[in-house]
Amino acid sequence: MTRHLIGLLVLLIAGLIYPWILPSALTVGVTILLFAGWATAWDILGGWAGQVSLGHACFVGIGAYFVAIGATEYAMAPWWTILMAIAVASVLALAWGSLTFKLHGPYFTLSTIAIAEMLRLVAINEDWLTGGATGVFIDWLPTPFGIDLFARETQYYLALAFAVGVMATIIGISRSRFGYQLRAVREDENSAMAAGIDPTRTKLKAFMLSASLTAVGGGIYGMMLSFLEPHILFYLLLSVQIALTGIIGGRGTIWGPLVGAVLLVSAGEIFRTSFAEANLLIYGVLILLVILFLPSGIIGEFNRRLTRRLYARRAQG
């Protein structure tokens, strides 16, 4: 636990120094931090509770659209609209989970894609609400204490706070009663039930937490884009990217999603020059390599080897 908190402190310091070292790469920094936060939030459901969702883009979309519509139509500040997005995302997760958690394995994954895809169709077709396929342009944001929320630097610090906040949450969960319940449900629902854990309730809590944290990141992403289109925010590929970031880094680990985000976003940036818009090709190649050669993800594999070495040393000594 203390080890993880020290790690988090190091991340925070590194994050604060980053804009001075690489001032030209602020956008990449925001993207890495947002994906680290999203993938960690995804992992609460996907890694710790073992329910693979490929629909998380819809929570990103909810966060972003609440911020945008609130600001442009009602002159509402993002902190209020993000609170509203959290409420809507958790209610949606509650309803969605209560309906679908009786489905197992691949059926649950398929239902997440179907629900997110339906929300995308709503966002495209209901022009009065979302501006439809032409999108919404954020033309106003408040300036609390003279801080410019349109500035990339402000957005960077918001994204840093988001990522560190989500990671602090998962560190807290990992040692809590809830964390053990999650792992018990993931390993074997029947045994968990025998131990007095309600699997559906546990999964619902994980889903609601995961959804609302994702929506917070979505709100920051909305400010960063400032021009929102349904085919970016509700897209299946965004859901896939979020999930793959968590999986490649290592599911059910604390640092996996961050490692996944650093690796995938920077790989995406490097290959963007050679592959242009086809830069997700590298995600496909990486996921195959990880699955064939590092099945528990980068951090998962690292932990496995570390444990093995510790046991070996203990056996010798």
């Binding site: 693979v52 309906l99 679908t100 009786k102 489905l103 197992h104 394995g105 691949p106 059926y107 994954t109 398929l110 239902s111 894609i113 179907a114 629900i115 895809e117 339906m118 169709l121 495209i124 077709n125 299946l236 590929l237 896939v240 793959l244 999986i247 592959f275 242009a276 818009e277 086809a278 830069n279 997700l280 090709l281 995600y283 496909g284 190649v285 990486l286 996921i287 195959l288 699955i291 064939l292 099945p295």
Partner: protein, 294 residues
Amino acid sequence: MAELVSLLQNLSNGLLIGGVYAMIGVGLTLIFGVMRTINFAHGDFVVMGMYTAFVFNMILGWDPYFSLLVALPAGFLLGVLLERVVLAPIVDKPHETSLLATLGISLIIGNGLLLIFGGESKSVHVDYASMALSLGEVKISVILLLAGAVTALVIGGLYLLLHHTEFGRSIRATAENRLGAELVGINTRRIQGAVFGLGMMLAMTAGVALIPLLFATPTATGPILTLKAFVVIVLGGLGRVGAAVAGGLVLGMVEVLGAAYIASAYRDAYGLLFFLIILLFKPEGLFGRSVKRV
């Protein structure tokens, strides 16, 4: 009277489109039945079929249906190869592993096509695209009819293969009980490769049949078709060829009737909504016997 004509018109369109969905679904259900693998790249295989027809039309001026000569063997061989390299090594891992691996294949195919052909959508124009047969006042589009004929031929052929050959019996035995099949001397590893090849071949054939009807875009069309194929097999009941055909026809009907009588913008949503409802209340599928949970 006019309403009846338009209803019959919609029903016939739904049936014919459903036939193509059935062909996509049959390949997926075959793979699922034998390998218990959710093949996330299935829609991208269909798109590969579409691009095959497009390339041969562009370079050699071939009629799309003529490119089946290439698409059929290429699909089979590619499928066997993919199974050998990617899926065979992870056959005993939990189900998400193969789902993610095929998701990786899907990203590679979609973005590979994007890299080679660029992002604009592709189609093949044929002269008979606008032709239609008249049955009374109901018009039946020639392309849809051709696609339906190809579907019927392919599914009929598959049925004969599965039920009247030794190879087909081995496939069905492997799907029914892998261990039992191995005990009677069936090489289930080889069967799995062949089934993935067959599935990819069916998907590419569907792509060839679809290209005069539908635009193909590298990364967008594949996932949509994958989702539709899943809707088809869940509607029908997982793992059975006949049920996938029925599921395909139902999906075609639901989409066409929903678009005609509710709102056309939500065409894709009706199938998904129907799918969720079936999933929640009758997870064994509309036409399925109760199946083992995966």
